[in-house]
């Protein structure tokens, strides 16, 4: 029955995707992308991926919508009709989709427990997590410990992307110039004139941050962890920036602190691995961190999740501020 729900939602998903692509107004496309993300997250939840649904909701529907809006404010929102005919692209897409649909008939059916992907490694993870880490969330265990190398790599990708964005957006005609004072109508005033959203929003920010901390530190027991918590806290701080203006938000968390968070988070993650090596284990093997291997694993996972949370939160906020600080040119 719930599978039928998934079928219905997937149909809506495909329709939304078509609408996103065919609309000429980019603002509308971004709004529909928000719906697309929410639908995607619901489908993930129905397909048993609670952690992924939380991430997709916080990142896809929240952060990327805001990034798109910040870009649209700088570039304009009307798509000019393309001169090149869609026929060749349509043909390429049609042929590729025929090949892919042909390939799907080789796939195991949805939920088939005998599918090859279910036979290897995953049962071992499910079996060993209670034994080695003694906490229930297998996804966190795999993320932070069994496949800790992967996650370290991802954190450094986020760090690199953040550095890239800051470099690209710190030069050029639209770059924020500290010497010239802002004109009062600049985007930095925040939503001063909207009393009700301001009051309600400011009331809710502490709870959003608190919820983010809960997601961060309860990630071993329920859906959550550093990635989700970082995104949720970043969304809360972005709400503050929206309400009170960029300047005020940067006073609370200056750009230097944010960059410190990104670098510090990534370094914290790496240092846990190095400390493990110094204590006689392998890189990112947390068992040696304490006399009891299980509590060693738990300590290691807790610390690296904090590192991930700091890095993601700092990176997303730094990127948002880099976009918001630019003036639109011509």
């Amino acid at each position: 029955m719930v599978t039928l729900f998934a079928v219905f939602l997937l149909t809506l998903l495909v329709l939304t995707a078509i609408a996103v692509v065919q609309t000429k107004n980019l603002f509308v496309a971004v709004m529909l992308m928000g719906i697309f993300s929410l639908l995607m997250a619901t489908v993930f939840f129905i397909l048993d991926a609670a952690d992924v649904a939380l991430t997709e909701a916080a990142v896809g529907a929240g952060i990327s919508t805001m990034l798109f809006l910040a870009t649209l404010a700088l570039t304009g929102e009307h798509e000019k009709p393309s001169k090149k005919g869609p026929w060749i692209s349509g043909l390429v897409v049609a042929i590729t989709s025929l090949i892919l649909i042909d390939a799907t008939f080789e796939q195991p059916y949805l939920g088939d427990p005998m599918a090859p992907v279910q036979q290897h490694v995953a049962p071992w993870y499910l079996e060993m997590t209670p034994e080695l880490m003694d906490f229930p969330n297998v996804v966190t265990a795999v993320l932070a410990s069994f496949r800790g190398y992967d996650t370290l790599g991802e954190v450094f990708v986020v760090l690199t992307a953040c550095i890239g964005v800051l470099f690209i957006l710190s030069a050029g005609p639209g770059a924020p110039n500290p010497k010239s004072p802002r004109i009062p109508t600049a985007p930095s005033v925040g939503l001063r004139h909207h009393l009700i959203p301001r009051v309600v929003g400011k009331l809710l920010i502490p709870f959003i941050v608190l919820f983010g901390l809960y997601v961060q530190f309860h990630g071993e027991y329920s859906p959550g962890g550093g990635f989700q918590a970082g995104a949720i806290i970043a969304a809360g701080m972005i709400l503050y920036a929206l309400l009170e203006g960029e300047k005020q938000a940067l006073k609370v968390l200056p750009q230097s602190v944010l960059i410190g968070m990104v670098v510090g988070g990534a370094m914290l993650y790496g240092m846990v691995g190095v400390v493990g090596m110094l204590m006689g284990g392998n890189f990112l093997d947390y068992s040696v961190l304490s006399s009891n291997p299980v509590s060693g694993q738990q300590i290691g996972i807790l610390i690296i999740e904090i590192g991930v949370g700091l890095a993601v939160c700092g990176a997303l906020l730094a990127i948002f501020h880099a976009f918001a600080a630019r003036r639109s040119v011509g």
Binding site: V2, F5, F8, L9, L12, L15, T16, A19, T23, K24, N25, F27, V28, M31, L32, G34, I35, L38, L39, A41, T42, F45, I46, A50, A53, L54, A57, A58, A61, G62, T65, M66, L69, L72, A73, H78, T185, A186, P187, G190, L191, H194, P197, G201, L204, I208, F211, V215, S222, P223, G224, Q228, I232, A235, G236, I238, L239, L242, L243, S328
Partner: protein, 100 residues
């Protein structure tokens, strides 16, 4: 029982989606995104019970928060854009006929 509720919510989601496709003004679309977000929150809460795992209600809470922040971001976007249009004295694209 939960099935009936979730089907009703999903049908409402579909109706809101049709409104998002039709427009006609951008505000209608933002409205339907908002309706869609709250309905998704409710749907998740119901499905958490349907699956017998009410500990997953965190997700619904996160959705509610993110949806609100998204709407305020849109509001801010409108404000920034109207500021820009005043500043540049551009003819400005009329918001109210975005039929596409």
């Amino acid at each position: 029982m939960f099935y009936v509720v979730s089907i009703a919510i999903m049908l409402t989601m579909a109706l809101a989606l049709v409104r998002a496709f039709l427009g006609p003004s951008v505000y209608d679309r933002v409205l339907s995104v908002n309706v869609f977000g709250t309905k998704t929150t409710l749907l998740l809460a119901v499905i958490a019970f349907l699956y017998g795992r009410p500990d997953f209600l965190d997700l619904a809470l996160a959705y509610a928060m993110i949806n609100f922040i998204g709407i305020l971001a849109v509001l801010k976007f409108f404000q920034v854009r109207s500021n820009q249009q005043q500043k540049n004295q551009l003819p400005g694209d009329d918001l109210n006929d975005n039929r596409d």
